[in-house]
């Protein structure tokens, strides 16, 4: 669906369903230089199992207009305004990587609105290496290749997708290449500069879920420990041998963890 917001058209995937105000709403927030399509399997499942689904393309990403937002705080605020525009009072927030930081910040800012929080591939703080930031600024093709090389576990670098006929590495690379120049650097810088994550975790009052990939080198599991210790009600699910792109590498494990969490 298309939603006018602050003078721009926002696209949000809904699983081809309209919003039913009697149903709970799950919002899926994507990562850096990605879009809603990283959530295809999980979001479609919930859209057809009693939930409203909103998987927006953040400003300047995918099918949404506007410019990418420069900070995690701005993304959290933008998410709030999107929900206000749609008149959605209560939500479950699910975020991946950069999206997980935005979901964390949004949950801390509006504890009464966010009823559950799920963070996937979430390192807090999310320090991005100088080399990757430099590549994203100066040589996006190199940055894309580095990210794809780091985003999938070693076995997945050779494929074995559960989605028939799709080559995960090619999809990951092409999705990054489709983002406009500068988007990746803006997103990575926003992740790197977000210093309030651990304080935000203390302010989160709803139940939280952390899904960590056992082979995630972008957001290693050990870097989720600090945020897990600060969340009041937290469940941690490990996905063994899975890299950062866990929604495509282990779609069923991610979906099952989310389903159990939302029951």
């Amino acid at each position: 669906m298309k939603i006018p917001l602050s003078g721009c058209q926002v696209y949000a995937y809904t699983g081809s369903r309209s919003i039913d105000r009697r149903q709970p709403t799950v919002v899926f927030l994507h990562g850096a230089a990605n879009d809603h399509s990283v959530w295809t399997l999980q979001s479609r499942y919930f859209a057809h199992h009693g939930y409203n689904v909103l998987a927006p393309d953040l400003p300047g990403h995918g099918l949404s207009g506007g410019q990418p937002l420069a900070s995690i705080g701005e993304i959290a605020d933008w998410t709030r305004r999107l929900l206000d525009e749609l008149g959605i009072a209560n939500v479950v927030l699910v975020g991946h990587s950069m999206g997980s930081l935005a979901a964390l910040e949004a949950a801390a800012r509006e504890p009464s609105r966010v009823q559950r929080l799920a963070m996937l591939g979430a390192a807090v703080p999310m320090q991005v290496s100088d080399a990757l930031l430099a590549a994203a600024h100066d040589d996006e093709a190199l940055a894309h290749a580095l990210i794809v090389g780091w985003s999938f576990s070693a076995p997945s670098q050779l494929g074995g997708n559960t989605q028939p006929g799709l080559w995960m590495i090619g999809n990951g690379l092409r999705l990054l290449q489709r983002s406009a120049p500068g988007v990746l650097h803006t997103d990575l810088r926003a992740c790197h500069d977000y210093s309030g994550g651990l304080d935000a975790a203390i302010r989160v009052t709803c139940p939280a879920l952390l899904i960590a990939g056992g082979a995630d080198v972008m957001a290693p599991k050990r870097r989720t420990r600090a945020v897990a210790e600060r969340l009041a009600q937290v469940r941690v699910v490990d996905v063994p041998d899975c890299g950062h792109s866990m929604m495509s590498e282990a779609p069923d494990a991610v979906l099952d963890a989310l389903r159990d969490f939302l029951r």
Binding site: N161, G165, R174
Partner: protein, 435 residues
């Protein structure tokens, strides 16, 4: 600065898409010879049908063995995914019907495999899809042929039989100027010699029967999506950008930003037209692809030796191989095909007292190692004389117009010892020259 660590082509040719079987530990890709796959419960069944979970339902739509092959060719081509189908012709058909409908139009190179020409020139017009054929090398002709209802540009990486080299960067740029995709038949080159997506093509297909397999024991096709074409921005492809009533109002370009075309092709094209690949066929093609880099290098090496021999032979009038300086596409081939121009080419036998058609026939009948048959890309060397076989009813003047001389012979050079092949050709040329 760190360097990306991604597997190389020859590693992908052996491993992409496959993992040791989790149930048995089998290292080779198992042949999942099963029409259908068990659901764990009703919710799982409904989720698979509605594309909420990944997996297999019915082997017409997808199959685990075929899926390994689909991933492997995607990895080798640098695409986002693929669909394995019953033949190269089925792949071409699937590409077209997933994008076009009645009243729409294709611009295609004139230098096409005969079967592709039949589909575009004779069969599809009956369903309302018209094609304008143009000279492969004439960019102005391509441009002039594009109409408001054009939806696809199409050519072969190397034309058949003259080995016209498709200038993919320029044709792709022209296509994209008009918000259209470029479809390329890459059968003759395989991803070892050229990866068309790197030059701007949007969709690639193969007759996997040929070099990808190499063994000549199966018929199969592969259709690969590069994932770069922006269907939404183009605005010319409602099959991908508008709700599809035939699948719960799914908008494929919203469902997948990179693989919308493949979703439609699988969820409609394979589902409804049904030209799927058998898992045993996929297994056999996988066996071939494992050695593709080794075989293609040898095909090219042998071909170069034979081209050099024929080019110096007094009974040979002309050799059509783009690596020769006199070939019209020599410079383009050097740019796009630095590893070689494949193992298929044609040459012409000089007419003597008897006409060239008779000499061609005598040549073919005198060969011992080259097999006389209608195929290319086998590990074994093959030969055909179009004027006495596929085009034997065609008058000489019409043959010339099609670029097929009466003395033209097409070779598909195999993996035998090059000296033995040259000996065979030498003996047959000697026999052909006897009046």
């Amino acid at each position: 600065m760190p360097k990306p660590k991604t597997p190389h082509f020859d590693t992908l040719a052996l491993h992409a898409g496959a993992r040791p079987d989790p149930a048995t530990g089998a290292r080779a890709t198992p042949i999942y010879q099963s029409s259908s796959f068990v659901f764990t419960d009703s919710d799982h069944a409904a989720s698979l049908f509605n594309m909420e979970r990944a997996g297999h339902v019915y082997s017409r739509i997808s199959n685990p063995t075929c899926a390994v092959l689909e991933e492997r060719i995607s990895a080798l081509e640098g695409g986002v995914g693929a669909i394995a189908v019953a033949s190269g012709q089925a792949a071409l058909h699937l590409a077209i019907v997933s994008l076009l409908g009645a009243g729409e139009h294709i611009v295609a190179s004139r230098a096409l495999y005969g079967g592709s020409h039949n589909l575009l020139g004779y069969t599809l017009p009956r369903f309302g899809v018209q094609t304008t054929f143009v000279d492969t090398r004439d960019l102005d002709a391509w441009r002039a042929a594009i109409r408001p209802n054009t939806r696809l540009l199409f050519g072969e990486t190397l034309g058949n039989p003259g080995l016209e080299v498709l200038d993919i960067p320029r044709i792709a740029a022209l296509a994209h100027e008009h918000a259209l995709p470029l479809l390329v038949d890459s059968t003759f080159t395989t991803p070892y010699l050229m990866r068309p997506f790197e030059h701007g093509a949007d969709l690639v297909y193969h007759s996997a029967t040929k070099f990808l397999s190499g063994h000549g024991v199966v018929i199969g096709g592969l259709l690969v999506d590069g994932g770069s074409f922006d269907w939404q921005r183009s605005g010319k492809f409602p099959t991908l950008t508008e709700p599809y009533v035939g699948f719960h109002d799914m908008v494929f370009a919203e469902e997948s930003s990179t693989a919308a075309f493949l979703l439609r092709a699988r969820r409609e094209g394979i589902r409804d037209f049904g030209a799927c690949m058998a898992p045993f066929t996929a297994f056999q093609i996988l066996q071939g692809i494992e050695t593709l880099p080794l075989r293609m290098a040898r095909h090219v090496e042998n071909t170069r030796a034979i081209v050099a021999f024929l080019n110096a032979h007094p009974l040979v009038e002309a050799v059509g191989y783009p690596e020769l300086p006199e070939h019209p596409d020599h410079a383009l081939a050097a740019r796009l095909l630095p590893l070689g121009c494949g193992g298929v080419f044609s040459f012409s036998i000089r007419a003597g007292d008897s006409n060239a058609r008779q000499r061609g026939r005598r040549f073919i009948e005198s060969l011992k190692l080259f097999s006389h048959l209608a195929n290319v890309g086998d590990a074994k060397s093959l030969v055909i004389h179009p004027a006495s076989t596929t085009h034997f009813r065609v008058p000489a003047a019409e043959l010339e117009a099609a670029g097929i001389g009466e003395g033209m012979v097409r070779l598909s050079v195999g993996l035998e010892n090059a000296g033995d092949l040259i000996e065979d050709l030498s003996r047959a040329l000697h026999a052909a020259g006897k009046e």
